[in-house]
């Protein structure tokens, strides 16, 4: 019976709404008070039933809730035969609860969508050599699973056979398909767009990257900031206090109407729900765009950040060398490139790989008499010609003449942090290449956006030598850049910055940067969700996507702002209600309830704006 009443709460709200409407229409048209009052009494008793029941259940575990305040107010109104007020208040309270439920579902939708992407079944290879469908919870590490086109990858694992392309949007927020073949890692919750894969299960159940992301987000949404904990404690004593005040008012004034109006006006609503609602919407919105915020406290700190420290060259640069500049000398470039490619093809030097990538597909020739000169390069004969590929020392050894122009170009490239690869054919210089770890595409725009969002200093700390670090710093226009730094030096540097009164965010990929991540006000981890870094950080950029950083900062600022707005609305409404009760004539129980429910909806709707958060486009003036 109890459950039936509670489950029919929404229907009861609808029925009492109809009765209310019928009563008023009847009074205006026919003018009979008997029907009017009858309908209102029925509406009141029907409506107060679920509210009173909830109040009673709470009282049994010694908790005084808002339901109790409303129940007493309604009973009081009935006692003094103010049926209009009692019916309107119960209806508004129930209808408000219904709207709150609907809108809250919306604010939580981002997470819910994420959770629903979790796979439920898997095709597991049985002892009979056939694949059979099993519940995903029955999959164990080492099981061989079949993933068909259009299906979800059930667990984290390695491809053992087959190939295909996978949409990893659920993990990374990027919907570009990623090619997978034997040996590739696949993640639970991603979708196989085409092809067929056999995978060996490596992490199952709660250990998969996907489950960990969900757990992090869920915990984050329910983690409480100091302000929220205060509000919680406040609400715990506030509600009984309102009850006591109502009682005192009644005892002193013997005015039931005034006493029950106090009960309704005192309902804590928007205040309790305002901050969590901004929080859940902000965190949910981030999760949908590849940014995990680990809690609401982060939002406040992050929104005040004035200094962003990047952990090393690899965060801002690609992390592996590539050809940045090429100069050709003499005729027939194509032939020279073919010679270069033919020689480099035989080498496993990291620079050779970068050179071959830059040249692309060209015809190559057989190579003979290859001689590796340690620390200098390679000399070989191709088509009967002597080809030397290496650094300036090799050219000297081969007695290749370098003109003053070439020497100047080489010096400039070296100053920019390049390693040099020179190619000479029969003692004549043909090609000069500068190879270096290049700035990631888009980093310039990322930094510009951070500055626009109010970040004052952008600093890079790196283990690389100061020359390389300076080159990167100059190109990006960083505030400061320090090379030759060990992890403990970085941590010390962060400490110093904090000591100077800066609010510091540290961006790192974490393997040995955990101390800095933990020390900074906001630790931002680049990574896939498995590292120590993810554990110690406050914000995770999924899939190491640095381009998400400005979005993360913008969203944090918007969320912090949103919380403030909600607190303002909630406190403002309570003050206005109390003032109007004391100083004006028009305040009544039903108007109070209307304003109260309205303010709750206002804070929820305000919070929902965060779900659509987009960073404004970067326009001309940078």
């Amino acid at each position: 019976m109890q459950r039936l009443i509670l489950r029919s709460k929404n229907k009861i709200a609808a029925v009492s709404g109809l009765l209310l409407a019928a009563a008023f229409i009847h009074r205006w048209t026919a003018g009979s008070t008997a029907f009017f009052e009858g309908a209102l009494i029925i509406a009141s008793f029907l409506g107060v039933l679920p509210i009173a029941l909830q109040a009673y259940q709470a009282l049994r575990v010694k908790v005084v809730t808002i339901d109790l305040l409303v129940t007493l107010a309604v009973l009081g109104a009935l006692a003094i035969k103010n049926f209009e007020e009692s019916a309107i208040v119960t209806f508004l309270f129930l209808f408000g609860a219904y709207l709150e439920q609907r809108t809250l579902q919306k604010t939580r939708s981002a997470i819910k969508e994420l959770v629903e992407m979790a796979p439920e079944t898997a095709l597991k290879l049985g002892e009979d050599g056939e694949f059979a469908e099993v519940d995903v919870e029955e999959v164990e590490v080492g099981d061989i699973l079949l993933v068909k086109t259009g299906a979800k990858v059930p667990v984290d694992g390695t491809v053992v056979a087959g190939e295909g392309s996978v949409n990893e949007a659920s993990i990374t927020g990027e919907s570009l398909p990623v090619a997978k073949e034997k040996g590739s890692t696949v993640y639970a919750g991603t979708i196989l767009d085409n092809g067929t894969l056999h995978i060996a299960a490596e992490r199952v159940g709660e250990d998969t990257t996907f489950s960990k992301i969900i757990e992090l987000v869920e915990e984050a949404q329910d983690s409480k900031s100091a302000a929220e904990r205060f509000i919680d404690r406040f609400a715990r004593y506030y509600t009984p206090a309102v009850l006591a005040v109502g009682l005192v008012v009644w005892l002193l004034s013997r005015n039931v109407e005034l006493a029950i109006t106090v009960l309704v006006l005192g309902c804590p609503g928007a205040l309790v729900i305002g901050v969590p609602v901004s929080n859940v919407a902000g965190i949910g919105s981030g999760a949908r765009h590849g940014v995990l915020f680990k809690g609401s406290e982060v939002m406040g700190d992050f929104s005040r950040v004035d200094t962003v420290v990047f952990d090393k060259t690899g965060t801002l640069t690609v992390g592996s060398p590539s050809v940045a500049e090429v100069e050709y000398y003499g005729e027939d470039r194509v032939e020279a490139l073919r010679y270069l490619a033919s020689v480099e093809r035989e080498s496993d030097h990291p620079l050779a790989k970068a050179v071959l990538t830059a040249i692309g597909e060209v015809e190559t020739y057989p190579v003979a008499n290859t001689e590796v000169v340690k620390g200098a390069g390679v000399v070989a004969s191709v088509h009967g010609r002597r080809v030397a590929v290496g650094n300036a020392a090799l050219m000297e050894r081969e007695q290749v003449k370098l003109s003053p122009t070439v020497k100047a170009q080489a010096a400039k490239l070296e100053q920019q942090g390049n390693s040099l690869v020179l190619t000479a054919v029969d003692g004549e210089l043909k090609i000069l290449m500068g190879v270096r770890d290049q700035i990631r595409p888009g980093v310039g725009a990322v930094l510009a956006r951070l500055r626009r969002l109010g970040v004052k200093s952008l600093i890079m700390l790196s283990g690389d030598n100061q020359g390389t670090v300076d080159a990167v710093s100059r190109e990006l226009g960083l505030t400061a850049a320090h090379g030759n730094m060990l992890p403990e030096d970085k941590a010390q540097y962060i400490k110093t910055l904090i000591g100077q009164g800066h609010t510091v965010a540290f961006v790192g990929d974490g393997v040995n940067d955990s101390p800095s991540l933990a020390l900074a006000h906001v630790g931002i981890a680049m990574g896939g969700g498995t590292d120590v870094a993810v554990e110690t950080s406050d914000v995770v950029l999924i899939n190491s996507n640095l381009e998400r950083l400005p979005h993360a900062l913008g969203l944090a600022k918007a969320t912090a702002q949103n919380m403030k707005q909600n607190i303002f609305i909630a406190v403002g409404v309570v003050l206005v209600l109390l003032a109007s009760l004391l100083f004006s004539e028009w305040m009544s129980m039903s108007i109070g309830m209307l304003v109260h429910e309205g303010s709750i909806l206002a804070v929820i709707l305000n919070g929902m704006r965060l779900l659509r958060f987009r960073l404004p486009r970067l326009t001309g003036r940078a």
Partner: protein, 77 residues
């Protein structure tokens, strides 16, 4: 000691949390300081002594204050 995660119907009022928290804490065998009611994900997490109380009893305490339990699982700490 076991750790339990109990999924509930979606919670919509913050006062629900107080109610559920009080109800679960009053069950003997539940480690009171481990009880966590997660409002947004509508879950209750807690540790309990499986020799003194069963998961079903804890669920009953929640149902008694008016909330439906959708799913629950427990594993050793």
């Amino acid at each position: 000691m076991m750790t339990a995660t109990i999924e509930l119907e979606s919670l919509t009022c913050p006062s629900c949390m107080q109610k559920i928290e009080a109800a679960v804490k009053s069950v003997s065998g539940v480690a009171a300081d481990t009880v966590q009611v997660l409002f947004n994900s509508s879950k209750v997490k807690l540790n309990f002594d499986e020799n003194r109380v069963s998961l079903e009893d804890i669920e009953k305490a929640i149902t008694r204050v008016g909330y439906e339990v959708q799913k629950s699982r427990a594993k050793p700490v």
